[in-house]
């Protein structure tokens, strides 16, 4: 038995004792979700899933345990919904949600509410999804699974304050996994002091585990503390050299530090050292590796790298991944005709809609249309911009989806901004404040109409955005350069860059 295995077995044993105590002490009145599985073994496996998925964030391993548990008890509907939410395989996400919904009759009333909440969310029925979630939270405010799912779903909805409140009201103060999730939520709110405080607790709770160091590193990187981030990633790898996320985290950090050669070398080491990455993790870091070429302005090399991802996605019938890869290729193309060709491919892939939730495909289609508007505006083609915006308007009018609505407002704001209708642009762009392209226009629009304080606030947010995405690569480095250049006219002269 290796030390690592011994450690995990020990933690597992502690978890089992803790769970046994919890089972005897807790009941539905005390706010714990009753789980409908007849198998004791499956209950124990769920504890292992919690440890692997939440505390250690070994998602692939956790999914494996969940799959085994569902073989033992295939009627365990809540298990299917958990696998749907945690799976790294888009096809499995779809399949498992369908199974969970089909088997909801076997579940307890609380479990049924959770299943219906995620089914409503998948079906774009936001109001019923919210009421289901709040009903589950009202009944089981101290249940760790409920707290985790609510915290996570609300974060996806960018309802960060509410996500944090769910954790704080739960009274669960000793769960490393929830500390980790909530620290990220604080980081998204740019409340880094609180995030760091939780990270200190997370590291102290699991000093021999790599994920606390890895999370700490990522949050330090989000705050712009790159050197410290790399030291924490290295600490994670020193604890567990197989913890691939930290290897790629180092690569991401070098990319954000503008050292693309070193970043690519670190990605190369990662892919060589970890050939069997889960599919979606591989896509994520391949995308970031390709983005290093965009950051250098080497678009032919970027095209090659992105095309490999698109081809892989096509071969594995991952429609959304394929569509999104082509969409990203379109965004950085200097020539409109090439961009349009990639957007056509993106739409064709999205239309296939294979192995993806319908809502995810609609969200992707909205992003592609939004990219069409950007491309058209760049090319000065108002007719094309208007046509894409009309399609996006129709899509957003028929869906209750925040991502689609944001895409619509981002596109409408871009069109208004291009027409020098700054007040109109502002009201749209304020609805798309998570996108660097919209933030940049919003800062400029505020500046144009004389809202200096608002312009400064948005400029600071944008200048301090350290996320290894293509959109960040397209906008933020140039924005910062302007900040550093006293002759650069524009919106960011008063912004302070936190390094």
């Amino acid at each position: 038995m290796t030390l690592g295995t011994l450690r995990r077995v020990t933690i597992f044993a502690i978890c089992l004792v803790a769970t046994a105590n919890a089972v005897t002490k807790d009941n539905p009145q005390k706010g714990v979700l009753p789980l409908t599985t007849k198998s004791k073994e499956v209950r124990h496996m769920l504890d292992e899933v919690w440890r692997l998925n939440l505390d250690e964030v070994q998602t692939a391993a956790a999914d494996e345990v969940l799959r085994k548990a569902l073989k033992i008890d295939p009627d365990f509907a809540f298990g299917h919904v958990l696998l749907s939410q945690c799976s790294l395989d888009p096809a499995e996400q779809v399949r498992e949600q369908q199974k969970a919904f089909a088997m909801r009759a076997h579940a307890s009333p609380g479990e049924r509410l959770v299943i219906e909440w995620f089914q409503n969310a998948a079906d774009h029925k936001l109001i019923p999804a919210i009421t289901d979630m709040n009903e589950v939270l009202r009944r089981y405010p101290h249940d760790r699974w409920v707290v985790f799912l609510a915290n996570w779903w609300l974060s996806q909805q960018t309802e960060y304050e509410r996500a944090v409140a769910v954790f704080e009201r739960s009274g669960i103060t000793d769960s490393p996994g929830l500390m980790n999730n909530t620290a990220y939520t604080y980081a998204y709110m740019r409340q880094f002091d609180r995030a760091f405080a939780l990270m200190e607790k997370y590291v102290a709770a699991m000093p021999n585990d790599p994920n606390p160091q890895d999370s700490y590193a990522e949050i330090l990187r989000m705050a712009g503390h790159f050197d410290q981030a790399i030291r924490h990633y290295q600490a994670a790898l020193a604890i567990d050299p197989q913890f691939y996320s930290s290897q790629f985290g180092i690569a991401d950090t070098y990319s954000l530090m503008s050292d693309q050669v070193r970043a690519r070398e670190e990605y190369r080491i990662g892919f060589e050292k970890f050939p069997s990455l889960p599919q979606l993790h591989r896509v994520q870091w391949q995308t970031r590796q390709a983005t290093t070429f965009v950051r250098e302005g080497n678009y032919p090399a970027a095209d090659q790298a992105f095309q490999v991802i698109a081809d892989q996605a096509h071969a594995k019938v991952m429609s959304q991944v394929e569509a999104d890869t082509y969409r990203q290729m379109a965004i950085y193309q200097p020539e409109a005709k090439h961009a349009i060709r990639f957007l056509d491919k993106a739409e064709a892939a999205a239309r296939q809609g294979r192995n993806a939730m319908p809502f995810a495909i609609q969200q992707e289609t909205a992003q592609v249309l939004r990219a069409r508007v950007e491309v058209a505006l760049k090319a000065g083609n108002k007719k094309m911009a208007s046509s894409a915006l009309n399609r996006l308007t129709q899509l957003s009018q028929t869906s209750n989806d925040k991502v689609i609505e944001s895409a619509y407002h981002g596109a409408a704001g871009a069109v208004s901004f291009a027409d020098a209708k700054y007040n109109e642009a502002m009201s749209h762009l304020e609805e798309d404040v998570n996108n660097p392209l919209s933030l940049q226009r919003l800062a400029a629009a505020y500046q144009k109409v004389g809202y200096g304080t608002e312009a400064k606030r948005v400029s600071e947010t944008l200048a301090n955005l350290n996320d290894p995405t293509l959109e960040q690569a397209m906008v933020v480095p140039a924005f910062r350069k302007c900040y550093e250049d006293p002759d650069c006219a524009g919106n960011l002269r008063n912004a302070s860059l936190k390094k």
């Binding site: 964030v57 992707e364 991502v403």
Partner: protein
């Protein structure tokens, strides 16, 4: 690392927190058959010019302090006042409007009071109330009236 799954969000949205517009929902008790009001009707209700529902039931209004940050949009769009003015109006009409300290209190009041109407954040919604459309639109639909910072 935090657990995640594939969403366009991962690629498209850098997660930053800025002042995103909030959406507020108009709620009534589940016994109320009104499913839609116009924004003008809603203003008449909140300012006491309309005091009963079409079936004759008296209207009971419950709101959070309209000068609070979350309710600025109500003050501006429904009372046509600044927050402090709306607060003063509400205080002067305590026979008409109950002021609650939280969305939970609003929801409890509305779910247990016949003829009640209240306004809460979209993400506070619970099952014990009806959500009323404004000008034919529900929260989350494009062009919804009660949306803003």
């Amino acid at each position: 690392m935090r657990i995640w799954r594939l969403l366009p969000l991962l690629w498209v949205l850098a997660l930053v927190s800025t002042a995103e517009a909030r959406q507020l929902a108009v709620i009534t008790d589940t016994g109320n058959s009104t499913t839609n009001v116009t924004s003008a009707e809603l203003t008449r209700i909140l300012t006491g010019r309309t005091r009963s529902w079409p079936d004759g039931k008296p209207i009971r209004i419950v709101l959070r302090d309209p000068s609070s940050a979350d309710m600025q949009v109500v003050a501006r769009k429904l009372f046509n006042m600044e927050g402090d003015q709306a607060r003063a109006f509400v205080r002067a009409h305590s026979d008409l409007i109950v002021v609650a300290d939280s969305d939970d209190t609003v929801l409890r009041f509305v779910s247990s009071t016949r003829g009640a109407i209240g306004i809460v954040d979209l993400y506070s919604l619970t099952k014990g109330v009806n959500v009323v459309k404004i000008d034919g639109k529900l929260p989350v639909e494009q062009g919804y009236f009660l949306k803003g910072n």
